[in-house]
């Protein structure tokens, strides 16, 4: 049976370094898959390979039946995939609202002529885009900050903003790279609740990388554990927790 996303024998070699070494896993639609692993095990590199930041050295990525191996990052949005980044790539010198509205690029169809002359058609699209953004802001609890500059907001909120930006793209698949990194446990829990709520409301499929074991075990439906670029184990949270290989690799993690 075919899955929503299939990663087959993915290899990402950089010179002599085998960041990802023959990794295969899958995600089913509407699932929340977690990826765990020690630092340097290749988790983010998997994301980078799937989303086209680096071209895979080998292997295939099949999404919704289509082979998307090696497609560029920019096309991801048009294929229905969006992502967040480990080291926060939001626009700190712009307002929250603008940050979200940029995310809507794919859906905003006004063209240059309309923009230059601010035609009624342009105004209509702008209003639609703004309403869309405001809706997402409300969903993520950011409405009151919409005119604030992102750079002046606390870190936890910036993480939420990046998430909201990935959401407004309206993807089918959402890749979250360490959404809880740098947050205290309360903030992390709140963010996770928000992620799940949005997922259910919008029907997303989510792949999530994180080190926060509590969050992973409680939110993920299935987990893939990696080590040194390879698959260590795969299964439900309780299966992973009791897997002897995983325990050996991560004793004390969490």
């Amino acid at each position: 049976m075919s899955h929503f996303l299939e990663v087959e024998h993915l290899k990402m070699y950089f010179g002599g370094v085998k960041a990802v070494d023959d990794l295969s896993f899958y995600v089913d639609e509407h699932e929340l898959l977690g990826i765990i692993g020690p630092n340097g095990s290749g988790k983010t590199t998997v994301f980078n390979g799937v989303t086209g930041i680096y071209k895979p050295t080998g292997g295939k990525v099949i999404f919704d039946g289509k082979d998307i191996t090696g497609q560029s990052l920019r096309n991801m949005v048009y294929l229905g995939i969006s992502r967040t980044f480990q080291n926060l790539r939001i626009f700190k010198a712009m307002t929250v609202l603008d940050n979200i509205m940029i995310g809507d690029t794919k859906n905003n169809h006004s063209n240059l002529f309309n923009a230059v002359f601010h035609t009624p058609r342009y105004r209509k699209y702008e209003e639609e885009a703004r309403q869309n953004a405001l809706e997402i802001l409300e969903m993520t609890g950011l409405t009151e900050y919409r005119n604030k500059y992102v750079g002046s907001l606390p870190y936890g909120m910036q993480k939420r903003i990046e998430f909201a930006r990935a959401v407004v793209v309206n993807p089918k698949l959402l890749l979250l790279d360490e959404p809880a990194a740098g947050l205290n446990s309360k903030e992390a829990e709140e963010l996770m609740e928000l992620i799940i709520e949005v997922k259910n409301r919008k029907g997303f499929t989510i792949i999530m990388i994180d080190h926060n074991m509590k969050i992973m075990m409680s939110s993920a439906e299935r987990i893939v554990a990696m080590e040194t670029g390879q698959l260590l184990a795969e299964g439900t949270p309780s299966e992973i927790q009791n897997d002897p290989d995983v325990i050996k690799a991560y004793l004390g993690e969490g």
Partner: protein
């Protein structure tokens, strides 16, 4: 959304609009109040330079590409407009349009190598291009008149009305400036402006939400050079004789100074910067020798105390503000608490 919040947003927009209208009104009535031709000419020059700065703002301030040889496009527009009027017999408006298009095409071509290469290279390529342009201007005598340049550029004639007096030039340039401002302002406050600023602030992040950064960079460069070219041709018609020395690197520095002082990433700032660096040196003629040095001191002080200039975008504000320091201290404290748990 409820009406109250929507209205609150438009109020700040309206305040800006009112300010613009007041300034515009002042500009319109200035010649009626100020009879001194010298001052009016200063303002006219300011308007022309404002347009160049608008173009520079688009490329440097809004897209974040360090374009150091921008004056080359201004120069190309200047020569194109002058030659179109003198050799091809184009009318004024047609010459200006022609100049803008030529400059835009060149800008388009120059932008292509800049895409693959990093920020530094953009600066180097544009500077190199400026040098190449100057070399051509100085040596291709049959086309550009060599070091003597192009002289005897005819006065502009619009729909039968001949522009020759100080006042008519003033209004002509004012109209062009206002039109340029409106068009560029519209672009900036649209999804295109957002995309450019996204590229400036975090290019990879912008690409990850579907922004075609290559296309947008080409776009910024082309439109920026379009306006620079238009400004250049206006300049040609204004002073009716141009030569390569009008477009040396010093002028590029001046354009940078204007944009920096006024504020990177702000169109009204460009006008203020242009005004400052056009008017102030004239007021202190006796210090003409030290003009560049004083401009330099202003730039340094500006960078030390307010990097974003008067009205510029926060993207250039750097690490100086106290508010930022306090916020960061809070975040660090939070993270320490989290790590301790």
């Amino acid at each position: 959304m409820n009406m109250k919040t929507l209205n609150k947003f438009s109020l700040s927009r309206n305040k800006a609009l009112v300010a613009y209208l007041i300034v515009l009104l002042l500009m319109i009535i200035a010649p009626l109040v100020i009879k001194d031709a010298f001052i009016l000419r200063l303002f006219t020059t300011t308007y022309i330079f404002s347009i160049v700065c608008f173009g520079n703002m688009l490329v440097v301030g809004y897209t974040g590409m360090l374009c150091l040889g921008f004056v080359a496009f201004y120069g190309i527009g200047s020569y194109a407009g002058a030659l179109a009027a003198k050799e091809l017999g184009f009318g004024f408006l047609l010459s200006v349009l022609f100049a803008g298009i030529v400059a835009a095409i060149v800008g388009f071509v120059i932008s292509l190598p800049c895409l693959r290469l990093s920020v530094d290279f953009v600066g180097l390529i544009t500077t190199s291009f400026l040098n190449i342009f100057l070399a051509i201007a100085r040596n291709w005598r049959s086309l550009t008149g060599g070091p003597n340049g192009v002289t005897g550029i005819p006065r502009p004639v619009i729909f039968g009305y001949r522009i020759a007096s100080v006042t008519s030039f003033y209004y002509l340039m004012l109209i062009f400036m206002v039109l340029s401002f409106i068009l560029l302002n519209n672009i900036i406050h649209s999804k295109y402006g957002r995309m450019l600023q996204g590229i400036r602030d975090n290019e990879l992040g912008a690409v990850s939400v579907g922004v075609d950064s290559r296309k947008m960079k080409i776009f910024a460069f082309t439109v920026g050079s379009l306006f620079a070219g238009i400004a250049g041709s206006l300049y040609s018609f204004y002073i009716s004789a141009i030569n390569p020395d009008n477009f040396i690197f010093n002028i590029s520095t001046q354009i940078m100074q204007m944009c920096v002082l006024g504020g990177m990433g702000s169109l009204p700032g460009a006008v203020i910067g242009a005004a400052f660096f056009t008017v102030v040196p004239e007021l202190y003629r006796s210090l003409a020798l030290y003009r560049i040095g004083l401009g330099g001191i202003i730039m340094v002080l500006c960078m030390l105390f307010r990097p974003q200039g008067l009205l510029g975008s926060r993207a250039f504000a750097g690490d100086k503000g106290f508010a930022d320091r306090i916020k960061r201290a809070r975040v660090v404290a939070q993270q320490k608490k989290a790590a301790a748990k």
